[in-house]
Symmetry: C2
């Protein structure tokens, strides 16, 4: 199935794949699915039998408190297996929602089990994907625990830009970000009001502009410096596993 090529390209950035491995990935069965903006891809507590590769769109993982207050824990961009970890934890401990209408390739866990039994090197690359998710969580924890509004927002924007650029969905320091300021706040641990004020500060410092859910970064160096952003944790470089 050709749609998985987006994932083949992503894995190839980490390590060279053998022709056999590429063929095995292409032979993975999977169904296409579409989720409308604002709808849940997976609900909290749901038992899943397949993992979803995001082909297009943008979505986010979240946990929530009893009163409904929500905290996003990661934003996913095309090329991400949004719930690959469900391959080893069948019951999801969080929900996943589509920020914009998203298309997925749903790969049955049984097929992943076969693949990982036959291809240990591919298994390590899949494992790596879930480990990078954890590294992203750790960066968010550092930001939430120790950085103030503008720095935290700057860090999130840096991360998203670098990931979208790697996925060839952003360039020239511009990107689409189909999230409301309320949702952005739910990712940063802020209210919508405070998100707006942090954004305003970044705008006033001429670091970026935000209009119609499109972001234009004016001064990458200064933005990354404010955020203390270092993309190393995203593992976007070649690194044999």
């Amino acid at each position: 199935m050709a749609t998985i090529d987006i994932f083949v390209r992503k894995l190839s950035r980490h390590d060279d794949l053998s022709p056999d491995e590429i063929a095995a990935l292409r032979e993975l069965p999977g169904e296409l699915a579409e989720v409308r903006a604002g709808q849940d891809v997976v609900r909290t507590g749901q038992w899943v039998e397949h993992s979803s590769l995001l082909l297009s769109g943008l979505c986010g993982r979240y946990s929530a408190l009893r009163d409904g207050r929500r905290q996003y824990t990661e934003i996913n961009v095309p090329g991400d297996f949004v719930d690959l970890h469900s391959f080893v934890i069948k019951q999801l401990d969080h929900g996943i929602v589509a920020f914009s209408t998203s298309r997925f390739l749903q790969v049955p866990h049984a097929a992943l089990a076969q693949l990982t039994t036959a291809y240990p090197h591919l298994t390590r690359l899949l494992w790596l994907e879930t480990v990078v998710d954890a590294a992203i969580h750790r960066q968010w924890l550092l930001a939430m625990g120790r950085q103030d509004g503008p720095a935290r927002l700057a860090r999130l924007i840096c991360e998203l830009y670098v990931r979208l650029e790697a996925a060839e969905l952003a360039w020239n320091l511009r990107m689409d970000l189909p999230m409301t300021q309320h949702e952005l706040g739910e990712a940063l641990g802020f209210t919508a009001v405070h998100t707006n004020r942090s954004l305003r500060i970044l705008r006033e410092r001429q670091l970026l502009d935000w209009r119609d859910q499109q972001i234009e970064i004016h001064d990458w160096r200064a933005l990354a410096d404010l955020a203390e952003f270092d993309p190393g944790y995203l593992r976007l470089t070649k690194e044999p596993v």
Copy 2:
């Protein structure tokens, strides 16, 4: 090597291991190491060639900002492979420090590579361990983003108690917690002063007591309720992988 039995028992709680698998784990090579309280087990950015299984003691993973402010992202208890994820990401993006003097079994990545090539089911169990780390990070993110001092502290204490109890290192709602309030604050995103005040509130509400780095929980139900703590994400129950 008998020391790895602590890990065999932990994996067995998730899923039954075959005699072959147990034998393979026991045949893993590894060197014993000891790290004094306050010393780093692994430094940020270090390239590692082995993963360390914590046999005794308590340690924590942290990231830091330029000015030295530190944020812990996980506390590790005996039975945890503190840097198993380094098996697929050789260069650690964070540091690990020993809160109390800790003993480790250092297993070479080459041995883990052989093991995972030969035993796909064991591989999924190891993978699960790293996925649970990510689930812990997500719970911390929820707490940091949306819960106030007392609730956040209560949640951390609930998590640590449940994990220590599972490791048979705590019982009767008592546990040793060899961390200073300053370090506890670095785990919660607080200053030492605010940690002290949150602790005081929990004490005044008669939820727990803290003395000489020993915690006694007086009202588990109320503590877990305040924290909105649900241990499901720790995957302490049997769940075939």
